[in-house]
């Protein structure tokens, strides 16, 4: 029974991974990624790590990939002409390299055999020891990760800021407040050949305040 589940979700994961890599439209690849994440979450549960699995869906699939989708829509990224940059040297070497890598890993895992893993006991799956370990031996990394996330948030907001914000006004002459120069390509009409995107909510909020 359990091997069936493994086989099913492993295959699902592989197929969706391939779709992520090969599909032309970024939205499809993103959704395929969600599927892959979901199937790996199931595999985590199979490997006796339900907490990680749940967390994976909650954090990874639930938030990060949504962010991707969000950005894809924000930038209105069109479907690429062709998925790959043509089968140039770059692609072939990449595939060859990946194949070699896979070969090596396979060789190692095959050589190291597969000792039977200890049967899962309820307490081996329990959360309490995991949490205990997290907040004792790994407290420092935990704090550091917290800091990292803070920095990431700040970095992201600064990087994605609309040009001309605090960097002093841009353009030749002073603008009457409210009559913003339409340099932001995200605004409609600024880029003829690029179809405009509906004005995102958050920018209107900026104008108001």
């Amino acid at each position: 029974m359990e091997t069936v589940i493994f086989a099913l979700f492993a295959a699902l994961a592989l197929v969706s991974a391939i779709v992520v890599v090969t599909h032309k439209s970024p939205v499809y690849s993103t959704l395929a990624l969600v599927l892959t994440l979901f199937s790996t979450a199931v595999l985590y549960v199979l490997l006796g790590a339900p907490f990680v699995g749940a967390l994976q869906i909650l954090v990874y699939a639930g938030a990060i990939v949504v962010l991707f989708l969000f950005v894809i829509m924000l930038l209105n990224i069109q479907k690429e002409e062709e998925a790959h940059a043509g089968f140039g040297a770059q692609t072939w070497t990449a595939i060859l390299g990946a194949a070699i890598f896979l070969g090596m890993m396979g060789l190692i895992f095959w050589r190291s055999g597969s000792p039977a893993a200890a049967p899962l006991t309820p307490e081996s799956v329990a959360l309490k020891p995991l949490a205990a370990q997290l907040f004792t031996t790994y407290l420092l990394p935990f704090e550091i990760v917290g800091l990292l996330l803070l920095v990431a948030v700040i970095g992201a907001t600064v990087a994605a800021r609309k040009p001309g914000e605090e960097l002093g006004h841009i353009g030749e002459h002073e603008y009457v407040s409210g009559e913003e120069p339409r340099t932001d390509p995200l605004k409609s009409g600024s880029d003829p050949h690029q179809p405009s995107v509906a004005e995102p909510a958050y920018s209107s909020q900026r104008e108001a305040s």
Partner: protein, 102 residues
């Protein structure tokens, strides 16, 4: 309860990693490269959990949390950068971002 030998999981993870790498190296679109990288990270997580299971040591799972956190941070900053690049050059096609070319 898992009768499936752990090495299968490892092989799966390796395959996912390989696919992710191919994606990262071949795609022209910035976001797709990012997705492939997330895929590779995920493969790494799977390996970690698999070994945690085999060595019966929960540390593997702990590390997965940190990997996820880092992945989140990376995604956030990366996407912000892409937005900034898009603003300036109306494209996130990696081939056309070769300002550093000699």
């Amino acid at each position: 309860m898992s009768s499936v030998p752990v090495s299968w999981y490892l092989l799966l993870a390796a395959a996912l990693f390989a696919i992710g790498t191919i994606g990262a190296l071949t795609r022209r679109n910035g976001i797709s490269i990012f997705l492939s990288i997330e895929l590779m990270l995920n493969a790494a997580n799977l390996t970690l959990v698999a070994y945690a299971r085999q060595l019966d040591d929960r540390t593997g799972q702990l590390i997965v949390f940190f990997v996820m956190a880092v992945a989140a941070a990376e995604a956030a900053v990366g996407l912000a950068l892409f937005i900034a690049v898009f603003r300036q050059r109306h494209t996130i096609d990696v081939n056309r971002m070769n300002l550093m070319r000699w």
